[in-house]
Subunit: 709 residues, 2 copies
């Protein structure tokens, strides 16, 4: 039940006056000068690429890349790199599956894995991969559902009904996964259709010690030396999937000065946010998030240190927590820089000036900023309740920080929503998405009771501290017990660890829920009315007004600057481009690429101690390696968390690397593009092949990639 | 500049209905049944000891223990254990000095130390030890300064003037350090006079790996196996101090069932707090504190992991932060237990009922609870500003989380306050305390610029997030820069690392401050007016009303229950007592003592990996040890943070152990005593001697302790 976006790997960046605010907010009359943009495949930056790089994609170039690109639904990207369904992604994306198939005796995350034949490839319990097949603009239809005079509450219901209906129609017609995606914050709605693969098996993973070499210390840093790769194979009907569209392996890989492309699923940017919205992020949302992340980090570290088995169980949760903490410190540091904020302010004033001086634009769009400000004020007031129990599609995975509670609330809502017409359902229980939902709900992935008690107890503590012990929901949740005692009672009492029990309850519908004496189901039933209420307030008084207002701002900008603009990231497929290029930091030139040899020096510089301790085979095979082989490299491509595992391609569409991180200076890309120091960090294909052949003797895999023995 | 109380070493305790609420709040007609109380040496529990244990202290018994007890002014306790000024405390108390005399090349904290002769004993740069010589009740005089009709603001000024004056008179007359101490939250004021020692030298310290064996994981846990000891020697005029009062070493140490006494300086309890006050702690104060501690823990861990030198530099700060985090989680878990709170509520209702049914008591004291509630409401409103820049005597050490800023604000205020009459000064700048203040201000202890930048930058971030970027103080502090850039500018620009510079500025008085171009001095000058304003609001509208109201409650209880009551802890000398006694946890009997042999088993159970890795000499000398020697033991004595290093004594006043921790179940002792599971944890004197002789070959020290070769 982990549909949490994996965000790549932050120290406190200093941006100051150095930042070159991208043109996204205000392209003005001039073309985009920088390598900016997470472009829609349905609206690629054709003119920009022609003008800046003299590049024009050939017939089918774009479609080939689109269909070679893969979305990992645990949050991340990848690509087909072989005709037999071979997919490459990052170790830190694949590790979700690695952890789920690991046991105390056999730790795939730490030890890595290589399947000696296809038969030996183990299946991931709940991994879903998506390949984008088509994009259709359904903006008119979605907005057409909103009738004149509808208030926000009515509009929210009408819009949701239309989106649920469009998805169901599409899925019934095509059999493809069908998602209506909100773009430009509400300016456009597109229907994305995906092929959906759920039989995904592990082919190869290196040890975490080299995949995440340098650990949290080096995370979001450069130069780097990480073999952050993992290979899977997609099966259909128990046969390796044959794919026509896969990326050819480049012979030479990326070189300084090359134009490169990145195709992947950036998770979320907020470049189009108004100033009020950014202020809310800076002063409320990010501090709240960071307090929560630090709390979890400290909790999980205390747990991990107790034994090596604890460490193994908490490894993914701790990685994700530390990663998000470092990322969000980068974000807030950007927003806390007065110079950065001043520029954002100036840009917003300029835009509003342009809108207000045109009577038509002013009348149609002029009130958008105030409308957003009002919604933000509502959000500020409800944020504690919404954050704590406003369980919704975005927050499903974080409900009470407990897998078992999440299963319980999903069962409760599944029963309740299934009895309603499709159009009226909560978005995540609409018919088109139920297969994906059930894949998670019925996942046999392990659940550790001790971690559940720890996390749920801590969450109850958090609720108590945030809302006060006398709050009605807190009292209902605790039922007169202390947070810890209540967590013990719930986790030890529930039977939801058992997948068959979940299936039986799901099949039993509402009657099974009502009759259940499972304490976790009872708790979910008890909290659900309040949880739905606060979610409804959010959707009707925050989300819907923002959709309408951001649509106005988007339309104003289309009117002023034309259609060639990219929307903020939304975990859907985007094309970025840039140049392989070093940068200067504290007066020091940072070259674009590192080498395999540098890895050994970097380890020695840190006393060869964890997280800078190299695996045994890396030490043993050092003499066999060509140490000058490029290992990691950077480019100016515009990426963000969710791009983890994205292929980096050359003009010919051949794969030359795989994105796994951004440097510290890139973390502000959430709010504005800059290419002065911000860089996307990738593993170089030459380094991959050298390591596979010489360190791992994985010739079968290397040959499959390169078509050479 | 670290006058932060060292608190001994929490997981989430489960108290539930199990807690036996101490009789402190409501002794009622019955005598105290349990081993409860942190008793004043001027009001010892004579009757209680007679009744429960048949023990009557002999002539001079109490005074001998009092004068053998030592307060460590970095927060902690200790005792004289030899005629030649030999003092024993905990490693985690002594480590403050160990860290300050360490360098990259020579890490006393990690490696330990043994002086082969007195000449080889290195001096601590800023350690002050105090020995209590006399106690005088000055309640009437302090309260006499408050005239009828004075409002809280006037009362605060008059009270402060009187306290400053009493201290100065006493110091001028006796030459002793003289502190007016507030007891029973304001019910009584006592003048404590101390001998003050500042030439303190290191004699012996074990390695941190055995002193803090089990690390944060085992901290606040039992059974334990820690050699948490450290020896210093007090010098006067370059000669070892001869003391008449020191504790004789017991031949047999503590044994199950023994009555034992603990003499030390418990830091702070809140057992007498009203329900509103406890609610404030639960819902605001503790959550705020925990957010801050987790923030620092994560910050310091990230810094520490970068290199072993970083780890060494941050070691004390990280230990203290993790220790306080675990402690405060224990506290809040206690308060978040509805059963615990319900009992506190019942007790308060009972007391108020007793007060209200007596017309005289009602008239004099009946409004106390509402008065406290009003002060709490004010505190709730000002808490963010007060926490962030309400720099005062309690918070001196935390100002901006920067030693350099703390030096700057101290210099600014020293100049300002020195020009005022003694009676009008801020408490910590009154004449009687200036020697101690200057010892800290002019300390040559190392200051690490990189850590200063990290911590100050983070603090600026915290200010921005808490008060908002548009707050006047935030703007004044940041001066248009980002938090990180501003911290770099200040730390790199200041000259206050240099002790002579500090002395020159201090000697130059206000003129030197006004003319200074040091950026840290300029910042301190800029923030001081707002900092004084918020502190004044706190002192006049929170602290003074609470003093008056708690005085009413204390007097009501004296009237109802008699004088034999102990006040909440205040970092002053107290006597506790109890029995050496195991307990039951999760149905399992936990014996009162562990053995040296158990240490090796405990290490093996955790794979002999840090923090369970034993030092080399412990492994080498294992065969020489009598493994059945008692190592750590527990008793029911009523202790709390600040008791670290307190001697444990038998009926004869001989030392049988040294307190270093409380178990998890003891953390709720902040709010109420219980002896069901709560235990004080100590190192056994027999284990100490065995280790000194057989592991460390420290025969010189062992002989000095035991008077045997």
């Amino acid at each position: 039940m982990n549909i949490r976006p994996i965000l790549y790997s932050v120290a406190t960046p200093t941006l100051g006056a150095a930042i070159l605010l991208g043109a996204a907010l205000l392209p003005g009359a001039a073309a985009l000068r920088a390598d900016e943009g997470m472009w829609l495949f349905s609206n690629p930056p054709v003119k920009l690429l022609q003008e800046k790089y003299g590049f024009t994609p050939g017939e089918g170039w774009l479609e080939h890349i689109q269909k070679s690109s893969v979305r990992f639904n645990n949050g991340g990207s990848g690509s087909f790199v072989g005709a037999n369904g071979l997919v490459m992604t990052n170790h830190h994306v694949g590790a979700n599956c690695l952890a789920k198939i690991s046991t105390k005796e056999n730790d795939y995350v730490a030890n890595g894995f290589e399947a000696k034949s296809q038969i030996a490839e183990p299946k991931c319990p709940d991994l879903e991969l998506n390949v984008l097949m088509s994009i259709e603009d359904v903006t008119a239809r979605v907005n057409g559902a909103i009738l004149a005079g509808m208030d926000f509450a009515a509009a929210e219901g009408a819009r949701r009904a239309e989106m649920n209906t469009i998805e169901k129609e599409s899925r019934d017609k095509t059999g493809l996964r069908s998602d209506v995606v909100t773009l430009y914050g509400g300016g456009q709605y597109h229907l994305y259709r995906y092929k959906r693969y759920t039989d995904v098996r592990l082919v190869f993973a290196p040890q975490k010690a080299i995949a995440f070499f340098g650990g949290d210390t080096d995370n979001f840093e450069y130069p780097r030396y990480d073999l952050d790769i993992c290979f899977f194979r997609v099966y259909e009907k128990n046969e390796a999937l044959f794919v026509e569209d896969y990326l050819k392996w480049s012979d030479r890989g990326a070189t300084e000065g090359d134009l490169v492309f990145v195709s992947g699923h950036p998770g979320r940017t907020e470049r189009l946010d108004t100033l009020d919205h950014l202020q809310y992020l800076r002063d409320f949302s990010l501090p709240d998030t960071l307090n929560l992340l630090r709390r979890r980090e400290v909790l999980l570290e205390g747990y991990s240190e107790r034994s090596s088995e604890n460490e193994r169980r908490a490894e993914r949760a701790l990685f994700s927590t530390r990663n998000r903490r470092k990322l969000n410190i980068g974000r807030i540091s950007g927003l806390e820089d007065p110079a950065f904020f001043e520029k954002k302010k100036q840009q917003e004033m300029d835009l509003r000036h342009l809108v207000n001086r045109d009577l038509d634009l002013k009348q149609k769009y002029g009130d958008a900023w105030d409308q957003i400000a009002a919604s933000i004020e509502t959000m500020r007031k409800i944020r504690n309740e919404y954050n704590l129990f406003g369980i919704g599609p975005q927050r499903q995975g974080a409900a009470f920080n407990s897998d078992l509670f999440e299963i319980a609330i999903t069962l409760v809502r599944l029963a309740a929503e299934s009895s309603k017409p499709n159009a009226e359902r909560l978005r995540e229980y609409a018919e088109a998405g139920l297969d994906s939902l059930k894949l998670q709900l019925f996942s046999p992935a392990p659940i550790y009771e001790d971690m559940e008690i720890l996390q749920l107890g801590d969450y109850f503590g958090l609720m108590t501290e945030t809302l006060g012990a006398d709050n009605a929901e807190v009292k209902a949740v605790l039922a007169g017990k202390s947070p810890h005692d209540r967590a013990v009672e719930l986790v030890e009492g529930t039977r939801l660890k058992d997948v068959d029990t979940r299936k039986r309850i799901a099949e039993g519908g509402w009657k099974a829920i009502e009759n259940s004496t499972d304490p976790m189901i009872e708790l979910a039933l008890k909290i659900d009315p309040a949880a739905r209420q606060i979610r409804q307030t959010f959707e009707q008084q925050v989300e819907e007004p923002q959709r309408q207002a951001y649509a106005k701002i988007a339309n104003a900008k289309f009117a002023l600057f034309g259609a060639s603009q990219y929307p903020d990231a939304t975990s859907t497929l985007r094309l970025a481009f840039g140049e392989v290029k070093g940068y200067t930091e504290n007066g020091k030139a940072i070259p674009s690429a590192t080498t395999l040899g540098g890895t050994y020096e970097h380890a020695a510089d840190h006393g060869n101690k964890p997280p800078f301790e190299l695996p045994a085979n890396w030490l043993q095979q050092k003499a066999q390696l060509n140490l000058s082989t490029p290992f990691n490299f950077v480019s100016t491509a515009d990426i963000i968390g969710g791009n983890s595992g994205s292929p980096v391609m050359n003009r010919a569409g051949e794969i030359v690397g795989i994105i796994f991180d951004g440097n510290i200076e890139s973390l502000v890309l959430d709010y504005a593009y800059t290419d002065q120091q911000a860089r996307a960090v990738a593993v170089h294909t030459s380094g991959i092949i050298e390591a596979l052949r010489k360190v791992y003797n994985a010739d079968r895999l290397a040959s499959e990639l390169t078509h050479r023995r």
